[in-house]
């Protein structure tokens, strides 16, 4: 379970382990990857047994990923499972550390004419859902689920 950030009776929880939320006001959320210490290949997702590129089984090193990347490709999803608002842009974003992430591209019209290959994008986080949960002491808390998105950036 990834670290949660708490403020009083409201607790923020990342939607996925790869997203790290700030634990102090001076920090910003960031994504993490895992880098092979032999060949440098970088992966998303903790708990890897080894490197599927070079076959090393030495432990991979967690690294902080940059918040800016470039749009590789996308699709505009018009039909989804119940509860998912459509249309939205599903995108593959290349990060400078040599790894790609799948995400929703936000703050852009879901229109192929408006979406440019290679366009610079930057990560933002937003609350996507919330629920009530009782903590270990039996006290009810509000859990905010925080997700990351990428949006067009100016540079």
């Amino acid at each position: 379970m990834a670290a949660e950030a708490s403020t009083g009776s409201t607790r923020q929880r990342p939607i996925a382990d790869m997203l790290r939320l700030p634990t102090a006001p001076s920090e910003k959320p960031y994504l993490v990857g895992y880098r092979c210490q032999r060949c440098g290949a970088t992966y998303i997702g903790e708990g890897r047994v080894g490197c599927s590129k070079c076959t090393s089984t030495e432990p991979l090193k967690e690294i902080k990923l940059g918040e800016r990347g470039a749009l590789y490709v996308y699709s505009i999803v018009h039909q989804s499972v119940p509860g998912v608002p459509v249309p939205y842009v599903s995108a593959i974003v290349d990060l400078p550390e040599g790894v790609s992430v799948r995400c929703n591209l936000v703050d852009i019209e879901p229109d192929p004419a408006k979406i440019k290959f290679g366009m610079p994008v930057e990560m933002v986080t937003r609350k996507v859902r919330e629920r009530k949960e009782k903590n270990a002491e039996g006290v009810e808390e509000t859990i905010e689920i925080i997700a990351f998105f990428f949006k067009p950036s100016q540079n």
Partner: protein, 378 residues
């Protein structure tokens, strides 16, 4: 390894069979293949069933419980959309290895009106579908098509033409789930599912089954003077490529499989009379023109524009109607492709017959990923 031949094939019409179950559908196809081959279930020495959604249900044995409990080795395989073709390859290996002289593969699936496949990814209990992009198949293959657009300038209209072509072919296939033509304008204006794939550019869900009987050269000579030979049967998995684990790379493992299959068969793309390839979405078909070497890399859009892959073209692709119209009951698909190639090579394909067909290639991709290529010759 020994030479292997396809002695018989069978296939039921793809569609919806709510009153039957998976073993019954598989048994129906198996009986058709036995009849076609002119052999009895008592002649089968090893039996493989490919089925995905009930992979834990012992369907190989349950089919034999319908048509003949002879006590032979029976096994069940699943390999995503390449499930049926993997079952075929297991049966092929059984004969090629010298262990058996007569083997049978059945591919079967009952999907009913199952909705969008894939997605459903969860992270620590949280659903991420539609929040961290889409893992649903229409978006995955939409993105794969958009990558082809980015690299080569392929257009949404060129992808749409695949749907027009394959639906047109399916009108001539009585076993196709759908047998209706669609106009380019209708495909382009249809409801968008995941750009650039509209509704008619996505294969349907459905039920179906197909079967094939494989034999050694000696057995083949006892039963037929017009053998169909398995010139190559190849299976690959996805090798490491930069984005594969984020955005499934359906190209590299197909290219690898094609290279191995052409080498094994001693043939090349120019020798092919017809191709049945994995058009789960219209975008996928054009990618595989490049991947199978049917055209120089990046020229798939031009190839469909020029009509070269239509029944009337120089290398017909998906004469059966393809997954887009014939249907795609996942476990059945790989064996149904073999059925189509065998039918064509025997000259029994009726109004969709590719004249003078001598060499056919069947290609299947299972996302996750598995790729099979079988090359059959007469």
């Amino acid at each position: 390894m020994r030479d292997v031949y396809v002695l018989g094939v069978g296939m039921i019409k793809f569609g919806r069979y709510p009153d039957k179950d998976v073993p019954q559908l598989g048994a129906d196809a198996a009986v058709l293949a036995l009849k076609d081959a002119g052999v009895s279930i008592k002649d089968i020495e090893m039996f493989v069933c490919g089925n995905l959604f009930q992979a834990n249900a012992m369907n190989a044995q349950r089919i034999l419980q319908q048509i003949g409990q002879t006590g032979i080795p029976a096994l069940n395989v699943s390999n995503a959309c390449a499930t049926g073709s993997t079952a075929f390859r297991e049966a092929y290996i059984g004969v090629a290895s010298g262990m058996y002289d007569v083997t049978m593969a059945v591919g079967v699936e009952q999907m009913g009106k199952m909705g969008l496949l894939g997605g459903g990814a969860r992270s620590g209990g949280e659903s991420v579908e539609g929040v961290l992009g889409s893992g649903l198949m229409p978006a995955v293959f939409g993105q794969a098509g958009v990558e082809h657009m980015r690299k080569y300038g392929t257009t949404a209209e060129q992808f749409a033409k695949v749907s027009v072509k394959n639906h047109k072919h399916s009108v001539h296939n009585p076993l196709s789930q759908y047998q209706v033509e669609v106009k380019l304008e209708d495909v382009m204006k249809a409801r968008m599912v995941a750009y650039p794939n509209t509704l008619y550019m996505c294969c349907p869900t459905g039920d179906g089954a197909a079967a094939a009987i494989l034999v050694s050269a000696d057995k083949m000579k006892q039963y037929t003077s017009k053998p169909v030979k398995v010139a190559a049967s190849v299976l690959t998995s996805d090798p490491y490529t930069d984005r594969d684990l984020t955005m499934p790379d359906v190209n590299t493992l197909t290219k690898n499989a094609a290279k191995q299959a052409y080498e094994k068969a001693g043939l090349g793309p120019k020798d092919l009379s017809l191709v049945e390839l994995h058009d789960c979405f219209a975008t996928a078909e054009l990618l595989h023109y490049d991947n199978l070497g049917l055209c120089p890399e990046g020229e798939a859009g031009r190839m469909i524009d020029e009509g070269r892959t239509a029944l009337s073209g120089d290398i017909p692709v998906n004469a059966s109607g393809g997954l887009l119209s014939k249907g795609h009951p996942l476990g059945a698909t790989g064996v149904a492709n073999i059925y189509e190639i065998v039918t064509q090579l025997r000259g029994q394909a009726g109004t969709r017959q590719v004249q003078g067909a001598k060499v056919g290639l069947a290609h299947v991709i299972g996302l996750g990923s598995a790729c099979t290529i079988n090359i059959l010759t007469v």
